[in-house]
């Protein structure tokens, strides 16, 4: 297989993964509530160790006017960037992993909301490999082979694996319950 074939197939994969959009709550406020419930339930179940007040504090929203009468909203959970800094701006899993995220949505004039972009970061504790995993939705499409619009990273910024387009609570479900801390790297 040549690179052109690989790129062509990657474009087909991209087309498939982006065709079916996840259901989203009709307003940003309802999305905040759904995400908050997800996190509070995880705290109740001892998956997250943040106290409730901190979960409320870490979840923020902002809305701005967009193009042609649309509205753009961002939902932010924890720090904007996770480079291993020592702060209390993260959702902390009992097993030492930590989560932060940002989601941008566009609400058209009377239309259904659409995902513009997102970043969901999971950083594992020191001494394991990979150190981190990210689920990203880029605003625009790039080379489908190297930079599919919706992708996951596993410990390296330059490695992007196409993933299906998921909604914020679907991804949180995965990060909270379906991504255990990996074992230590093989020596």
């Amino acid at each position: 297989m040549g690179i052109d074939d690989a790129r062509s197939m990657a474009a087909q994969v991209e087309s498939r993964t982006l065709t079916q959009s996840p259901w989203l709550p009709p307003t940003p406020e309802e999305l905040v509530r759904a995400v908050r419930k997800c996190l509070l339930t995880a705290a109740d179940e001892d998956i997250l160790i943040n106290p409730q007040y901190q979960i409320h504090k870490l979840l923020k929203m902002d809305k701005k006017e967009g193009r042609a009468g649309s509205m753009v909203a961002i939902l932010m959970g924890g720090a904007t960037i996770d480079k291993g800094q020592e702060t209390d701006e993260f959702f902390l899993r009992r097993d030492g992993a930590r989560i932060s995220f940002g989601v941008t949505l566009m609400y058209g004039d009377g239309g259904a909301p659409g995902l513009v972009s997102f970043r969901f970061s999971l950083r594992f504790p020191d001494g394991v490999s990979p150190r981190w995993v990210r689920f990203d939705l880029n605003e625009r499409a790039g080379d489908p082979l190297l930079e599919p619009r919706c992708h996951a990273h596993s410990g390296a910024d330059c490695l992007r694996i196409a993933i299906p387009l998921m909604g914020p609570t679907e991804i949180l479900g995965k990060l909270l319950h379906g991504m255990p801390v990996p074992g230590p790297p093989l020596s």
Partner: protein, 199 residues
């Protein structure tokens, strides 16, 4: 109220109310009078979003007697949210206090009141106030919305991460040359340049 009230976001208040669900407690949330209908509606949304707590609203009862009858006649299995009683005078509250036994119910009751109404209630309905005890908070209406301080902190972390200034980033966005990473989209929204999102 002479004592400052503890401020709670509507989501946190909703959570507290649900935690007491089924105990017949009375809770009060103070809000600016003009915001009371909105706050009551948002509390309903917050409580319902947490699940397992059916909610009924009582809005704008005609008088104190109607208020009592509405509470008595409400579905006993539902948490109640009462608003629109700002016109109650101290006389109304005294009347309610006298008939307070009719207000006993198995599920929690939330009253959304202005500070002035809370003062009237505390002064004129001491027994009802005794039921409420310390369960009075002030609504922190905008707490889930990003504050200016938080916005500046996020912008600063984006500048440090990218090595770009705001102006350089917007310049690139206007020319369709912005990198694709999701952080840049957040940056545009934080700068109130939603018009450049989705270009």
């Amino acid at each position: 109220m002479t004592m400052p009230l503890k401020r709670l976001s509507l989501a946190e208040f909703g959570l507290r109310a649900v935690a007491r669900h089924g105990k017949g407690d009375w809770l009060v949330l103070a809000a600016p009078e003009s915001e009371i209908p909105t706050v009551a509606s948002r509390i309903k949304d917050e409580v319902e979003a947490l699940g397992d707590s059916p909610v009924q609203e009582i809005r704008d009862p005609a008088n104190a007697s109607s208020f009592i009858e509405s509470v008595r006649g409400a579905d006993q299995s539902k948490l109640l949210i009462v608003s629109g009683i700002e016109f109650f005078s101290e006389e109304h509250w005294r009347y309610i206090d006298l008939l307070r036994s009719r207000l006993m119910r198995p599920q929690a009751v939330i009253m959304v009141l202005s500070l002035r109404s809370i003062e009237y209630m505390v002064r004129s309905a001491p027994n009802l106030s005794g039921w409420i005890g310390g369960s009075i908070w002030e609504a922190d209406i905008g707490s889930e919305v990003l504050s200016d301080k938080e916005r500046h902190a996020r912008l600063q972390s984006l500048r440090e991460w990218s090595g770009l200034t705001d102006e350089e980033m917007v310049y690139r966005a206007e020319r369709g040359k912005l990198p694709k990473e999701p952080e840049y989209v957040e940056w545009l929204v934080l700068l109130n340049r939603g018009d450049l999102v989705g270009n």
